[in-house]
């Protein structure tokens, strides 16, 4: 069953189309990466999935039903713009948010303590939010999104503000949630985390889905035209012509893109060894980062 099904959804703000005929299906139990440049319309789409906005055209199904306000209790949302009541203490705040998701006070209290313990933040139970560090309030915010054990979680930039250790902790928790059958929509600009965690992605630009599907399949569908080399000698001496483009270059290392598809690997090696002593030659599939940049650029034209 698809947990989320978006069918030809369009949303206007005045004359501006924030979502333009979007269709998307997200099956149960996966991590779906929602990608796109700033202002692409991700937040608008998320707000429609959380029943904050209503689509002007098309429809949104969650858990197989047309979305309505009762579904809000089964959805957890960590917005990109974080917010808590500054003068409330951590536990009261979490209990309040839990109650607004339909939990009983007692249940919310128990779950809040459970999560604070799991996130190594139990000492902060009675602290006021204004006295917390940024990382700590991020944890509280995350708990607010998962406290009511929702089937669907939408996490917008969940790692911002975390040090590498905490980031690892959160990756582990999110993967655990997936293992227990939850569906997660992850919106982030951290492409290496997308590679590490996401099963599927959709790429949005200017209100349209420009690329969607399984991460492995998307990668396969892109031509292997990335070249990593290590060498001795001066790269400037090589006449790369129209055959190659430099992506990045440092002392004795370069990342290149093969721009002439007719060129065979052996011919490339010949071209390079003419001036350089090669110590490494590797043709690799593109990263999600490159796919992102390339797709967005192409859709622009």
């Amino acid at each position: 069953m698809n947990i989320v099904e978006i069918k030809n959804v369009t949303k206007f703000f005045g004359d501006y189309k924030a979502s333009n005929d979007i269709s998307l299906a997200i099956p149960k139990g996966i991590i779906h990466g929602l990608l796109g440049p700033n202002g692409a319309g991700k937040t608008t789409l998320i707000r429609m999935i959380t029943n904050i906005y209503m689509p002007d055209q098309g429809e949104i199904l969650v858990f197989g039903e047309k979305i309505n306000r009762d579904h809000q209790n089964q959805i957890g949302y960590l917005p990109e713009e974080r917010g808590l009541y500054k003068k409330m203490n951590v536990i009261d705040q979490l209990v309040y948010f839990g109650q607004l998701k339909g939990m009983s006070k007692k249940d919310a209290q128990a779950k809040a303590v459970f999560w604070l313990t799991r996130l190594e933040a139990k000492d902060f139970v009675n602290k006021k939010v204004q006295d917390l560090s940024k990382g700590m309030s991020q944890k509280v915010q995350f708990i607010a999104a998962v406290l009511h054990n929702p089937e669907l979680m939408i996490l917008d930039e969940p790692f911002s503000g975390f040090d590498p250790i905490n980031s690892e902790l959160f990756i582990e928790i999110i993967l655990d949630l997936k293992k227990s059958g939850k569906t997660i929509i992850l919106s982030t600009h951290q492409m290496h985390q997308v590679e590490q965690m996401c099963d599927e992605i959709s790429l949005i630009n200017k209100g349209r889905v420009i690329l969607a599907g399984n991460v492995r399949e998307i990668k396969k569908s892109f031509v292997k035209n990335n070249l990593n080399i290590e060498f001795e000698g001066n790269f400037q001496d090589v006449n790369i012509g129209n055959n190659l483009v430099i992506i990045s270059k440092s002392e004795g290392k370069a990342k290149l893109k093969i721009t002439n598809p007719a060129l065979k690997p052996n011919e490339i090696i010949a071209l390079l060894t003419d001036k350089l002593q090669l110590t490494k030659f590797e043709i690799v599939e593109p990263s999600i980062n490159e796919i992102f940049i390339e797709s967005v650029k192409n859709s622009q034209n």
């Binding site: 306000r69 809000q72 917010g83």
Partner: protein
């Protein structure tokens, strides 16, 4: 389900505020500052006619000066200097001015006063009144009018108002006292509506600025959010009013017996006499009240008897007025990012309240005029003016019914209108909207 979420919000908004130090301090200090405020108004209005100025009297008639000084010895004093000397003193600020009384004053009541200029209307009036009185008495004496006759002519009217009640008896009508009570109650509703209305808009802005809105919006509907906040804060207001009422009744309960005991101890001898008389005449013992001195009796009679209906009307008009205005305040809070921006947009709402409070003296003075009736029906002013009329006069039932119906309908309309703006406003950030934008939002679906 939906209802339980509204209750969760009401509970949250209520407890958060009632538990705060600000609320406890405000509840205790509120009545004190209210009393102080009215004490200042009364003190100022009583001292209006009085002038703290010093005027020298240069009396060339040798008749009037003493009488004038008798009329007000704080202001006038006699001098024996030339006009030129006095002028110098006025210019040197040693003297506020001087009055020259010549034969002309006696003949055709013409008097000249010299000052540095200005001084205000109150001071001129005072001088004129005093001179009028002194000169009139002089002219009366001149024509040999009898002293007792003079006293009788100068007698001022003391009007006693009696109210006829349904059983046909008359009771003391405290028209002046009651319209003052009405004014205070109307003023209290004005202050409370403004105060709690601004709590609502501040609360909404806080949730917007701290980016809590998006979490709330993903859990409850904007309508639930708004109603929960408005009702929660309204209960805070009711709690405060209830505490104040208990305090007021407490003070009255203590004050009345206190007046009686003090009175008794001062008049023990007198009471003894009365009791002896009663014993001698074998009259049945009467209640303790009868034994009160006339002064104490009039004191207690002068405490206006506030009927329970005035209390009911106060709570109703406070709550409805609050709802009417607070929902509009919520809408404006939702549309802006800072309180400064809110202040500008609030003008169309605050203007009617301020206009209402400035017309209060007229409503107090003529509670049955067409203007007063209109103001007590118009929903923007009725919460403040109707309570004043209810206290000050007997308002016909149809007017109360009409006012209640109009206010209820308008409040439902205001909530509906505000909810439409609120729904759009809460997630809008950055651009400062105009009042026109708000109307556009209200029209959108």
């Amino acid at each position: 389900m939906a209802n339980s979420k509204i209750w969760t919000i009401i509970n949250h908004e209520y407890l958060k505020r009632v538990k705060s130090k600000g609320f406890i301090i405000g509840t205790l200090i509120g009545p004190l500052s209210f009393i102080l405020f009215f004490a200042i108004i009364i003190a100022v209005s009583m001292s209006m006619g009085e002038s703290s100025k010093k005027l020298a009297i240069l009396d060339n008639t040798n008749i009037l000066a003493d009488n004038l000084i008798k009329a007000n010895k704080d202001i006038y004093f006699k001098v024996n200097k030339s006009e030129a000397e006095l002028s110098k003193e006025v210019l040197a600020d040693n003297l506020d001015g001087f009055v020259v009384l010549n034969k002309e004053a006696l003949d055709n009541a013409k008097v000249t006063v010299y000052t540095k200029g200005g001084g205000g209307l109150g001071f001129i009036n005072q001088l004129e009144n005093d001179l009028d009185k002194v000169l009139r008495e002089y002219r009366m004496a001149e024509t040999k009018v009898d002293k007792t006759l003079l006293a009788r002519i100068n007698l001022n009217v003391k009007l006693e108002t009696k109210k006829i009640n349904e059983s046909g008896k008359t009771e003391k009508d405290n028209a002046e006292g009651m319209s003052f009570v009405g004014y205070i109650l109307g003023f209290a509703i004005y202050i409370l509506t403004f105060l709690y209305g601004s709590f609502v808009s501040r609360g909404v802005i806080e949730e917007k600025v701290n980016r809590i809105m998006e979490i709330l919006a993903s859990s409850v509907t904007p309508f639930e959010m708004m109603i929960g906040k408005v009702v929660g804060i309204g209960f805070v207001g009711l709690t405060q009013v209830a505490v104040w009422m208990v305090m007021l009744f407490g003070v009255m309960a203590v004050a009345t017996p206190l007046v009686m005991t003090f009175d008794k101890s001062f008049n023990k001898a007198e009471i003894q006499k009365i009791e002896n008389l009663q014993q001698m005449n074998k009259m049945p013992m009467q209640s303790g009240n009868q034994a009160m001195s006339p002064q104490a009796k009039s004191f207690i009679e002068n405490i206006p008897k506030i009927s329970i209906w005035v209390g009911v009307a106060f709570v109703f008009y406070f709550f409805m007025g609050y709802f009417f205005y607070a929902s509009l305040f919520a809408a404006i809070g939702s549309a802006v990012d800072t309180e400064q921006d809110a202040a500008q947009l609030q003008l169309p709402i605050t203007l009617p309240i301020i206009l209402t409070i400035t017309t209060m003296p007229q409503i107090m003075g003529q509670p049955d005029s067409t203007f007063s009736i209109f103001m007590s029906l118009f929903p923007f002013s009725s919460p403040i003016t109707m309570i004043t009329r209810v206290a000050a006069t007997s308002v016909p039932l149809w007017q109360i019914a009409a006012s209640v119906i109009i206010l209820l309908t308008s409040t439902v309309g205001a909530i509906w209108f505000a909810a439409k703006i609120y729904r759009v406003g809460i997630l809008m950030t950055g651009k400062k909207p105009t009042f026109k934008d708000l109307l556009k939002w209200a029209k959108s679906n």
